[in-house]
Amino acid sequence: MTFLRRQLPVVIAFVLGLFTLVIFYIPAAPMQGIGDRLKIFVTIIGAFAMLLGINSILGQHITKIRKKRPGYGYSWVLILGFIAMMVAWIPWWSVPPEGTTVYYPWGGLENNQGVFYWMFFWILVPMQATMFSILAFYIASAAYRSFRAKTMEATVLLIAAVIVMLGRVPLGTSMTSWLPDTGFWGSLRMEEMTSWLLNIPNAAGFRGIVLGVALGIIATSVRIIFGVEKTYMGGGD
């Protein structure tokens, strides 16, 4: 049992991890064919991870309903919404119209008279878009409350933010459109200052973060392949 839970995953990670790494450098067709097969396996495993996610979220909400925790009514909405969307998508096997092979009388993305289409475009899309749009109100409140020139660093951040905010809208760029296109004065145009901020200090900082993340991924991958890192099996080691 310990072998199945502890040693076998390490062996699989070592063999497949090293194999995938090696075939990346061998362009021969048979090796690439095996590599392609492995990629399909990864996608299938990813689909199972989604099933686990569904199981987890439904489990949490069913428990919430059973224990009547505060706000359990929203859990009903989630579960009923989940079932409704899933049922609408199932292809009920009726005679498909000419030219189609799979027919979804209730659902499908092509069937714009269907229940699924209606629920997707008239419930899900506006609700998700609204949730994201509400951010504008919180950003306004946060900008008023916390964007203070308390220190030198905060002042630099504040000035940069103001320039980028104005440089990314037509109103802002129109404010400096009377300046010449080239030369020193041209570089003071709002869109030019925005472009400089994004291209030089921002890109430099972000590149550092990206390289750091990449090195971290490489280090973690090597640790997993050689069995040093075992936290993916659950529990620390």
Binding site: G108, Q128, A140, L166, R168, L171, S174
Partner: protein, 278 residues
């Protein structure tokens, strides 16, 4: 400390700034195309009829207000030049519906045929593996398209069995972290140029890719979508939203200034209250 009436006033002002320009549209401030947006536009504009591009609909409805107008503008541009489009979604299942609708609507209005001139491949999890597999064989990864039709005999995929060596351009319209995998596993090993579109908040994140030339164009947020609409010559939802966005940004700057005035005033009052000694 913000009193509750101040917060409600801020929210009311933002709401007015968003709604009024939409209800009473005006055209005062020109929205000139930036170099980053021209990068994507010029690449597609220089393609030949019959070329194929990939448009990744890597966003879900939460980013729809910013990225859907961008998607429509890119599709209008590609279809107007008789370029074939392979749509794909590797961000989340909800993005597939948006991709199908955009391709069906724009394809329909421009007389294009599903399966021949365009196809929307559905969602698959684990994008690094999917992207690198698409470079070598599309139909092996996608046995059917987003509408459940088999891809085996689909004309567009007969012409383009794999991305590597067959497609001329790839545009990733991304709400999340999909540009990096597309660069690392798609564009770089596949040898095809790539552009990207993203939400305004992610715009700064992708500039390092643009600066290094790994992507040759970058469209950020609603402004870029409006620029693309103007370049294509068909103003839509993005152009309509530009006035609102302009006024909201100006209002945010005003809030920051007022907040700082209040802050420094309270500091000076405290200074006076404590005797003003150093």
């Amino acid at each position: 400390m913000v009193r509750s009436w101040e917060r409600y006033l801020l929210y009311a002002l933002i709401a007015f700034a968003v709604f009024l320009p939409l209800i009473f549209p005006f055209d005062v401030w020109p929205n000139l195309p930036t170099r980053e947006v021209l990068g994507v536009f010029n690449t597609i504009d220089n393609l030949q009829p019959g070329d194929t591009i990939v448009v990744a609909v890597d966003f879900d409805p939460s980013s729809e207000p910013e990225l859907y107008p961008m998607l429509l503008a890119v599709l209008r541009h590609a279809f107007s030049k008789d370029i074939y489009v392979i749509g794909i979604n590797l961000f989340g299942p909800a993005g597939t519906g948006l991709g199908v609708k955009a391709l069906t609507d724009v394809g329909g209005e421009m007389g294009k045929t599903d399966g021949s001139d365009y196809v929307m491949l559905g969602f698959k999890p684990n994008l690094p593996a999917v992207i690198s597999q698409l470079n070598s064989d599309i139909k092996e990864m996608y046995r059917s398209d987003a509408n459940g039709r088999p891809t085996a005999d689909m004309p567009i995929l007969q012409r383009t069995p794999k991305l590597q060596g067959n497609i001329k351009y790839m545009v990733d319209l991304a709400a999340g972290e999909t540009v990096r995998p597309w660069v690392a596993y798609g564009s770089a090993p596949g040898g095809y140029p790539m552009g990207a579109g993203c939400t305004a908040v992610s715009f700064a994140d992708y500039f390092s890719f643009y600066q290094s030339g790994q992507i040759n164009g970058l469209m950020g947020g609603l402004k870029a979508a409006a620029e693309y609409e103007e370049l294509v010559g068909e103003k839509g939802a993005a152009s309509a939203g530009m006035n609102s966005q302009s006024i909201v940004h100006a209002l945010l700057v005003l809030f920051i200034i007022i907040g700082n005035v209040v802050f420094f005033r309270s500091l000076s009052l405290k200074h006076v209250g404590t005797g003003g000694g150093a």
